[in-house]
């Protein structure tokens, strides 16, 4: 039945009156239940899963970044090789050979320090051994990296080039080779100083990669609750500090201050906790939030030409919401509903944002560099008073001081 055709029997008025004037006696048991709820809120447990989740993520990332690469794994394997080699020597070498070949004896008794495999090679080709002995010495190219280095240096070492090429063994089987003396032709090689083939520049050492890098960052930060909700960029400035745990791996933290401007639909707000007006009737919200962002990132670097470096990184951010300004547009406005609402210092989101970044840095001087890094920040929790899923992206331009 159409409302215009409703009977004028006073039903609406009667019910409205009842709604206004009905009285329900206060009930102590109701308050007791309320107190229980309030106590439950007070004892609301800290959201440990966020901490553990973040920690777990960092551990996984650390494992990914720090897991030894192929060269390192080969190096580790080679640390175990000498024992195996000695065993094979003892099994395969005729007793008279063992006795008569001081080089083998030397090799068997050589201590197997867990160092670079090229040291082992060097030990087997000591210059004080005679040429004849050297010719019968088992030359073992123990791993690919040494072989590569030999190859790389060949061009620079004209006098030794040919011999080194001859020494190269097929890489597929280069992990460990034992050639019985009888099968080997006499190579008639001069003593090889493999030390001269080791790169002069030092390998990564604690001193060379432990470095602090400070940077000032500026960016235009675009924020939205959906991919179509980006409006205009808010300024972002920050100071970062980066600690290199390895030459190509760093941990970064710092503090940045930014303004996040976005618009959202009323339906994107978590309404039960939204006390201002009826969220069902909110058509859209324009928000301007001032935020301090405290990131904890891990970054992996890749060398490029001319000292330039690329990097990728990820981590977790905490947002401290300094102020949140909301302007509402209603589908159906009612008297008393606010057009604007401001919240200050009420929402903090610890470890609530996932950071993803990739970038490029270029040295200007020995100590100064420039960086450019697009980033994406994804919410792991509802952000701000409306608990919206706030996405942010931008490009950080930074000046770095090493």
């Amino acid at each position: 039945m159409d409302e215009a055709m409703k009977p004028k029997d006073g039903l609406d008025q009667k019910v409205k009156e009842a709604a206004d004037k009905a009285h329900f006696e206060f009930n102590d048991s109701a308050w007791a239940a309320m107190e229980k709820k309030l106590d439950g809120v007070k004892r609301a447990p800290f959201v440990w899963w966020k901490i553990w989740g973040s920690a777990g993520l960092l551990v996984i990332l650390l494992l990914i970044f720090l897991w030894p690469n192929n060269d390192q794994i080969e190096g580790l394997k080679n640390q175990d090789v000498p024992e195996k080699q000695n065993t094979e020597l003892n099994e395969n070498t005729p007793p008279d050979n063992k006795a008569s070949n001081p080089a083998l004896k030397e090799a068997n008794t050589e201590s197997t320090t867990p160092n670079q495999s090229n040291q082992k090679v060097r030990a087997e080709t000591k210059p004080n051994q005679s040429t004849q002995e050297n010719s019968k010495t088992i030359l073992v190219i123990q791993n690919e990296s040494v072989s590569d280095r030999l190859g790389a240096r060949t061009d620079q070492r004209q006098t030794m080039g040919q011999e080194i090429e001859e020494l190269k063994l097929p890489l597929e089987s280069a992990l460990l080779r034992w050639y019985p003396l009888a099968d080997l032709p006499s190579l008639n090689l001069p003593p090889i100083e493999l030390a001269s083939f080791i790169p002069e520049e030092p390998l990564d050492t604690t001193d060379s990669y432990k470095r602090w890098v400070f940077s000032a960052v500026i960016s235009g930060d675009m924020s939205a609750t959906t991919l179509s909700g980006f409006k205009k960029p808010g300024p972002l400035v920050g100071l970062m500090v980066e600690y290199f745990v390895k030459n190509d791996l760093s941990i970064q933290t710092g503090l940045s201050y930014g303004s996040k401007k976005y618009s959202a639909l009323g339906s994107e707000y978590e309404t039960p906790y939204w006390a201002q007006g009826s969220a069902y009737s909110v058509a859209s919200v324009y928000a301007n939030c001032r935020v301090i962002d405290i990131p904890l990132n891990i970054q992996k670097y890749f060398d490029s030409k001319n000292g330039n470096r690329f990097f990728i990184g990820t981590g977790i951010s905490s947002y401290l919401m300094l102020s949140e300004d909301y302007d509402y547009t209603y589908k159906y406005s009612q008297a008393g509903w606010p057009d604007h609402w401001q919240v200050k210092n009420q929402n903090q989101h610890y470890f609530g944002i996932l950071n993803l970044t990739a970038g490029f840095e270029r040295p200007l001087t020995e100590k100064l560099g420039l960086g450019l890094a697009p980033y994406l920040k994804m919410p792991l929790t509802g952000i701000g008073a409306g608990k919206v899923k706030l996405l942010s992206f931008g490009v950080n331009a930074s000046i770095k001081f090493r």
Partner: protein, 184 residues
């Protein structure tokens, strides 16, 4: 009047400081008002109490956001209505919205309702309406929402909202006259 407002302001400020005594004071003062809202939306005092406490929990945990220069009652009312709607929506997932539209209501609506019932009994009668009728009736007749808004909030069409209102009124009239209804 000014004294009452001052007392209310003090109570609200106490609640902002998380003072339990102030919270109890506020709860006690507005218990009846809040209960009258929740009863007509939920249909039973037990459910109403649950919704009322959920609503007050939002009041206490978000009291910081309340602008003291504005009247408290409309703010509380909105929260209670929203809490009630959430409760209804949660229950409507189980009790299908559509089935209620099939209630077979006699069109003997011109007879005047029984006006001998007291206010609380009238609200209980409202609460006895089927959930979808009850929600539409309360939102439209008492809380002043428009059909489009009701449709948005309850996830139904505007025409369903209108139809439910008509049927709700017919049923309520019948209930108030103690008529017997058959549900289809």
């Amino acid at each position: 009047m000014a004294k009452i407002e001052k007392l209310l302001e003090l109570t609200i400020n106490g609640c902002k400081d998380n003072d339990r005594q102030s919270q109890k004071e506020l709860y006690r003062n507005f218990y009846s008002y809040a209960m009258s809202i929740c009863v007509r939306y939920t249909g039973s005092e037990a459910d109403a109490l649950e919704v009322l406490n959920d609503g007050f929990l939002k009041v206490f945990t978000h009291i910081e956001k309340f602008d003291i220069s504005k009247p408290f009652k409309p703010w509380l009312r909105r929260i209670m209505v929203n809490a009630s709607i959430d409760h209804i929506k949660k229950n409507l997932k189980h009790a299908h919205m559509a089935d209620i539209t099939e209630a077979n209501v006699h069109q003997s609506v011109e007879e005047a309702p029984d006006h001998n019932l007291n206010y609380e009994e009238i609200l209980h009668k409202v609460g006895q309406l089927s959930p979808a009728y009850r929600a539409v009736f309360n939102l439209y007749v008492i809380d002043g929402y428009k059909h489009q808004e009701i449709a948005d909030q309850l996830g139904i069409t505007e025409s369903t909202s209108k139809a439910n209102l008509t049927r709700a009124k017919a049923m309520l009239r019948a209930m108030l006259r103690k008529e017997v209804y058959q549900y289809g």
